[in-house]
Symmetry: C2
């Protein structure tokens, strides 16, 4: 079969542009609305997208004055969406730093059962001291420590998901035996961060494991992705940088003993689709005008690890910013932003304008054919296996992409016209993992 | 308005009788089926029940050979059910011993938003060493310690639910102000078990707090209920014992400075409804025949805190059982079982027969009129404000109760014929809590 694109819709209430909620047509309460999320997910499902995705951090993560900052917990929201959809995959972000493996493993196994094999987990280590202070800590654990814990968290979780063999439940009414006792086993994990006896209280789920997704591009993040991730979200501003990232991560996967085709790389893009190129540019400009730069400065300062007072709107970034090695969170985001500002010689105000739209992701602005061409260019030139679609404005941005761009790609044979599988792993062409306990006992 | 009954359906896949999955008509995979739970919930909603409820413990809690022991995590399953229903309340059990307040508070606030005000939390401290060993401990914390932690957990959670005032979100597109900064506040909790900065990442939910439910009947449990619970599930085998419990708990609520009408007491009952009394008794007997007593002995031994070998099927319970004070979990369940066995002079086999059906709850066996009469008797004689309905077999048990018993109670004016409110609190006649932060700042 010809290699085909994969599409994920990054759900974000009224859109990824921070001013999108202020547009006349936007529902400023969409962040807490099941119906708004049902609509977005159905549009993506009708367009045969592989999945939808929700970001997360267990903290109030932006100034509540500036934009809708309240959110629905992702595993619950996706469980509700599982009941409202049939085929599309459902990827929730959850933190390995602020959860216990038993609790999270059972939630993802439950989501996989509820959705009949459509669950995915975007694994994050959660940057920031504010989150740490919701969990009894003074400061966040070191970046390296967070990744060590994440690695052990995955080792525990996969053991728990494997603690029932696939054939454990026999449901023999006559003999009165529901599951075979020797096919349900304790995991007895005793590690540095966790001790977990098990077994899990959820039988092995349709996909075996949820799809494992990762998004950090720091050195630790890329090593973690090479070892564990089956799909990777990434932010790269140019084709060349996307190609470099793509080649590097596939190489790392091979070095980790894996098949590089089983690591699906999905750059984030912000499609801005107009019937004419001029119309698309006009929409872009309208959004930039809506940003209140004084609100955005605080967020930028946090990512860069400097005091907000040091950033002047009409000057370039300060020269003596902390290096990537000196900050403990958002490492790759920080470097991407700094490199971008310096390369294009942007003032802080101009930088905020760019970030408000794409937050470091590439904006594809143009007519449907132009956007489809750029997607094809990335896909056929070693920069992407598909895309994480992050419309600046929702639902209109995904409606336009689904109605105008997707049919062009389908016509070119680059995207499915119907689902061929039923699980999220099948959509992405990824195998169902064998049961490690089962293999060990053969 | 006349005082009316409240009904909760205790969801339990093929029924509360441990052999129910073996009946020819039972789906032995119902425990992991969204559709099976959707059907049960819709039957209860069509009958105008106040709520459905899911038990939980973060552990594989029964021998997987004996009955369906895998389960779907309750907050996720109820989120999926929120998307499939409109009016009925959704009560999930969750542990204060094996969760962090920030994580759980945001899940219940999210469920309340998703369901438009229909979330309830059955607060448990989780008995048993097996659960503790899924969370890095060797043994469960002491009963008293678990309740101290639960109390602080509730103090943190209510502060988090109050960390946004009800009027915080103004969504002023013109000025670009989504929420008022001074109406979203850190909680700064520094206690013995938890330090939590806050604010919550979820704005105040439709009900303010989820309905707070409790079910333990130990001394610590009853004190906790008197302080926090708005609805209480209880197991009492006779009318007299239900009356004593009812009077005692209402008295404790008054002593805690609360309005006793705002603590709704719901004894668990197992209705066995036949068109004739003989038919009802026949169904009862058929289920008892299906139990494999050798499987049930282990569970009974665990609750009693003795080795399984000490229990002989055709002898009474040993005389020298550990006292309630000597065991660290299931205290009230243990005492109820021991008292019952001694009072009725039961052998272990007979006791297992009784427990397999009602697990210590009262079985109401008879014709629809007989069952309705008993319900009315309890309700009008200081033993109950309503009932936690635990059919031995599902879905048939709730279908029969809804079709045959509910209409009799409606005709007598004892139960609603239509929902009058939209939230779970409104169904139970309970107030929406005022915002403590808001009150403090006036």
């Amino acid at each position: 079969m010809t290699r085909q694109l994969h599409f994920n819709l990054f759900l974000h209430d009224t859109g990824h542009h921070e001013a999108s909620w202020r547009l006349p047509e936007s529902d400023p309460h969409a962040n807490l609305s099941l119906e708004a999320h049902q609509h977005l997910t159905r549009v993506a499902e009708d367009a045969k997208f592989d999945s939808v995705f929700l970001a997360d951090s267990p903290v109030l993560w932006s100034d509540p004055a500036r934009r809708p900052s309240g959110k629905l917990e992702p595993t619950l929201l996706l469980a509700a969406l599982a009941a409202s959809t049939r085929r599309i995959g459902l990827i929730a972000t959850a933190s390995t730093s602020y959860n216990e493996p038993f609790n999270l493993a059972r939630r993802f196994a439950s989501l996989d059962h509820l959705s009949k094999g459509r669950a995915g987990w975007n694994i994050v280590t959660t940057a920031g001291d504010a989150a740490a202070r919701n969990f009894g800590l003074d400061d966040q654990p070191l970046h390296k420590t967070r990744y060590e814990r994440a690695d052990e968290f995955l080792r525990v979780s996969t053991k728990l998901w494997d603690s029932w063999t696939d054939d454990a439940v026999i449901a023999d009414k006559q003999r009165g035996v529901h599951a075979l006792r020797d096919r349900v086993r304790a995991v007895g994990h005793h590690g540095e961060y966790f001790r977990v006896d098990g077994p899990l209280d959820v039988p092995r789920s349709p996909q075996g494991y949820p799809l494992l997704v990762q998004a950090g591009s720091s050195e630790n993040g890329k090593e973690f992705a090479a070892k564990w991730a089956e799909a990777v979200f990434v932010a790269q501003p140019t084709l060349a940088e996307s190609q470099a990232f793509y080649a590097d991560l596939k190489r790392r996967a091979v070095a980790a003993g894996r098949n590089p085709d089983q690591v699906v790389i999905l750059p984030g893009i912000v499609p801005v689709v107009g019937d004419t190129a001029a119309q698309a540019r006009e929409l872009d400009a309208e959004l930039e005008r809506l940003i209140a730069p004084e609100h955005a400065i605080g967020t930028l300062a946090t990512v860069l690890g400097v005091d907000a007072e040091r950033l002047k709107l009409d000057e370039p970034l300060p020269i003596d910013l902390p290096a990537e090695e000196e900050i403990e969170g958002h490492k790759s985001r920080r470097t991407l932003i700094v490199d971008w500002a310096r390369r294009d010689n942007l003032t802080v105000r101009q930088l905020i304008g760019k970030l408000g739209g794409g937050r470091g992701h590439r904006t594809f602005t143009g007519t449907p054919v132009q956007v489809a061409d750029t997607i094809q260019e990335y896909f056929e030139n070693g920069a992407a296996d598909g895309f994480n679609i992050m419309p600046a404005v929702l639902p209109s941005g995904i409606e336009a992409f689904a109605a105008k761009v997707v049919p062009i790609l389908q016509e070119r044979g680059l995207f499915r016209t119907e689902y061929t599988g039923t699980t999220l792993r099948e959509h992405y062409g990824l195998p169902r993992p064998a049961n490690s306990l089962e293999l060990a006992s053969r």
